[in-house]
Symmetry: D2
């Protein structure tokens, strides 16, 4: 249940009511909210003095539900996505920051194509301890350099809660990776900022769990949440994961958050990325996240799935044509 | 291993060599073939007199492999799909033939939009014995009527081997359904005709199994095989199935057969079909299979996933725009 | 809804009522039944004269439901399984009948250990056309020989509906394989016999679909149905399939049919079969199906997963110890 | 590759060699180790002075591989598990610590049955923000009380890296939950202690990923790692998860770490826990983890899957009988 508190209700008078209900106080501009478990179907008596408006939900997708409010919008620097803005963020860059030279080339490509946002990981959540783990703070510094020089925005990922503060302080858009989707140390910190947060679906996570991860951030007070589908694990292993566009259709119907798609991690092989990226574009989502590296064969992580610059330039032409056909502005 | 027999080699001299190898003789126009298990890496001595050309494969995807030959083409009545023809068959119609009136309305829609092929099931492979099982022979007769009257083609499905002969004799395109993909009674019969055969991927089938089902038909002597992805079963059950476009990208890279996509069965809910159909169109495949019913709410099977005529007409406009943007001709 | 017809009601007076409801007449000894779709919640008026007893169900698991009747029993030759009989059928034998010598050795092992039932396939539903497809009729003849000579029972499989009559006529227990679970040509024929039918769960089939396959046979009039869990397809591919014992616990709670487990096909590797077979025994099910071959390394199908005779003898000792601990009689 | 350094080699002389290789120095008693990525097949020249023994592996399961060393042993208080000790830890307790009274009852049951280890969560990694999140530090204090009073051991879970230090300091056995399996903030801290660490398999994690999580802890210098299978996510949703005993058989064959099984979380329903627990016991693993609550109906988390005390007492009798039959000592 989402309870809309009357203006001027003092949070201190509400706090004592929350614990017994497992309810959460959500700062929300002029009219603060309290969200209870969805199992609460009737307004608890003790809230009656503080509200004259509440809404019941079938499950714990509440703040993110399209029954609660129309599609949300999120400002991503030069453009706003969501609502009926018809803007599509095409976000590119390498899997990992590897060196100054590499990341400058990536930033140049972003700039040269008129795009706005560079992606690159600095804390890599690898599955093996015997592999490149990212440049950590050193990587953030390199990203800082290209951000200043090229005037672009950066999205980068926190691996776990031990360095989430640094990543929040540094990023323009904070990425929560597929392996960290359930990490409450990260989710709760992201609820305390107002920077945009892109949550990647856990590859073993249902849509319900996925959106509930967003509820952690939304209920923390940050309304700027973006969902990113990047492939789920299925019995089919000839491709690395299975991109779940049926799930995206479900999200567009039932959830009020903007959606971004990552075809690169889904298939895990560069050959399929252009076709998949076009399919994602035709789904009419708010953004694409595509791995592009100046020299994929020598990348320190995910070499097989990154497009080289020429391959991306060719793909980009067709994305623009599709955008034109569908009335979507790429930025 | 595919062994290309010299012209004029008598099949009767080859037959005695096959059994010990588990090899198959494949009639193939001027130059007949023998296909052995892929584990055979060196030309068996006894075949040396009969061939001067053979090709080794890594697994039992052989006749269907893009290493064997370039993308195949299949004639579907007024147009040819596959190869570099850039033709896209948009195939529509109800889940089941239910009545003369219903199927005439469907045929009129096909005709009115300038399309060519009507889909409709007459032998329904339902999972429950307590549900509508299709009109059987009666349904085929109704389909025959609209085929004659409207000059359109029909694709319909065999449920099992007990009526495969009737379905082969009747159909313009024979459909092998998702639950019958492993049915050798059906696959082997389809290898003996030259009518186009559309094989739907089993919802629990790997890409390897899927293409090997096509190998049964191809090795039977029928080169006109089309693969249809229609959603696989995953842990995500908020949608009926999960459409596997990563798998489609893999097929386009590794397999020489045309591909058709069925978004209706994948998501199982009408609300998502238009977005998914556009995504499928943007994948650049050879066809779409979409369930459209004159009155979905009263359909005798799959009421939730069928578009009504008006909904399809609106979708069709955008499919044409995408086709124009991508250089694809819809028929 | 299961409607129990009054004694003496003429089926001819019932038949005209069935079609409109998609209901099925089920011969059932003294009191015949009609089963309607579970969506029927109130007794249809037209049935009122013919019944004074009916039962409503939440879904189309009806005749197989533990809400309909207590656990069923099925006679398997020398012993009866199910109900509270505490009998466990340990069924062994090779994947395929390959030769007289091989199948005689298998039959000798069955006899020597005091077991009763031999398994062996003659029509193999292989996924590749370029592999051993079984000895077909020739295999049935070899099985007939050892049945007579050793006085044992035979369970063997139909691949598709083209030879289901031969398999029904020949077998003591008819096996419907995992790839044929949805084959109505087979299921409906099995409903017309009274021989025991063992249905293997499709590796992509939900428990709901699995039990509904049994409903096809039960509603055809054959009450002697056994369910066999043999592994489902999951994202884990280091083993061939994933044996679903949680699903077995669900079946034991909700379904009235005896359950048999096949650990060999589940893991697909001989090393794991003994531990898994012991786990299956400890689940307290009505039978085990284990692949045992006199010379696995040279088996013509599934060489990796078959135990040799010595391996099985060692396993058998521990199965007997577990049976003793749990009060189960092996036959 | 695992490189065994000669005795007395100074780590400071090794450290500079690691980075370029993505190799890890592993303290290991008398003979320290360096582990490189498994892609390194030949001993790097610069290591030649420091070693005369190294071993190559096919993949990044190295320290945990049964090719590296025989089954490891881990001391769990009163008994040692692993190797050929034939000891089985039966670990019980509620999902969450809820109150002093509740956890005292649980501890009494442990003590009364002669068991040694109590499980209970204090930081609950819930999927919804609108549900009971555990008592946090307060819960640890209550656990501390019963540990002292009853002389039992405690296993409890860290939710994320923000409180891992507290959990490590407090626990006798540290549990890494299914949603935290990839959390390197947790894994790396657990590598720095020598307390036993039980890693639960991520429900979307392959066996390869699962064992690689253990490699993070092992390569950090902590050899006391236990693997816990607790069910994976599959298309079957009539049960909460699917317990993967085929995977357990694979672990027993290929991995040198003790294995514990959690049937409660796998099925998610109390009715199936006894049968599954017996199956797990018969697999011959090193431990069981079973949720038992003094009053399941009023539990604040997971009410459906917890056994009450009487139900567990009945199960325990049969576990002991199975233990006797199989030569396993329960503690």
């Amino acid at each position: 249940m989402i309870i809309r508190l009357k203006q001027g209700v003092d949070p201190n008078s509400i706090n004592p009511l929350l614990g017994a209900l497992h309810a959460v106080f959500v700062p929300n501009g002029v009219a603060n909210l309290v969200v209870t478990p969805s199992s609460v179907r009737d307004l608890p008596e003790e809230f009656e003095p503080f509200t004259d408006q509440y809404q019941v939900f079938d499950n714990d997708i509440q703040l993110a539900s399209s029954l609660y409010k129309e599609r949300r919008e999120v400002e991503l620097g030069p453009a706003v996505i969501g609502r009926d803005h018809q803007n599509t963020a095409v976000i590119i860059g390498p899997c990992s920051v590897e060196s100054r030279e590499q990341i400058r080339k990536s930033a140049e490509l972003v700039k040269d194509l008129g795009l706005s946002i560079l992606r690159a990981g600095s804390y890599k959540p690898r599955t093996s301890p015997y592999s490149f783990q990212g440049l950590a703070e050193e990587g953030l510094k390199l990203l800082e350099e290209v951000r200043s020089e090229f005037g672009i925005r950066i999205i980068t990922e926190a691996r776990d809660a031990t360095h989430i503060d640094e990543v929040i302080a540094f990023s323009d858009i904070i990425q929560i990776g597929t392996k960290a989707m359930y990490d409450q140390g990260i989710l709760r910190k992201c609820g305390k900022t107002t920077k945009p947060v892109l949550i990647k679906r856990g590859f073993g996570s249902t849509l319900q769990d996925f959106v509930q991860a967003a509820e952690f951030v939304l209920s923390g007070g940050n309304p700027n949440v973006i969902l990113c589908e990047r492939g789920i694990r299925t019995f089919e292993t000839r491709t690395r994961f299975t991109l779940d566009l049926c799930g995206v259709a479900w999200l567009k119907e039932h959830v009020n958050l903007p959606v971004v798609l990552d075809p690169s991690h889904a298939i895990g092989m560069a050959y399929g990325v252009p076709d998949l990226a076009r399919a994602c574009m035709a789904m009419g989502v708010e953004g694409l996240l595509i791995e592009v590296h100046p020299d994929p064969a020598n990348a320190k992580s995910d070499p097989a799935q990154q497009l080289n610059h020429q391959q991306f330039r060719e793909l980009f032409v067709t994305l623009q044509e599709l955008g034109n056909a569908l009335g979507l502005r790429i930025f």
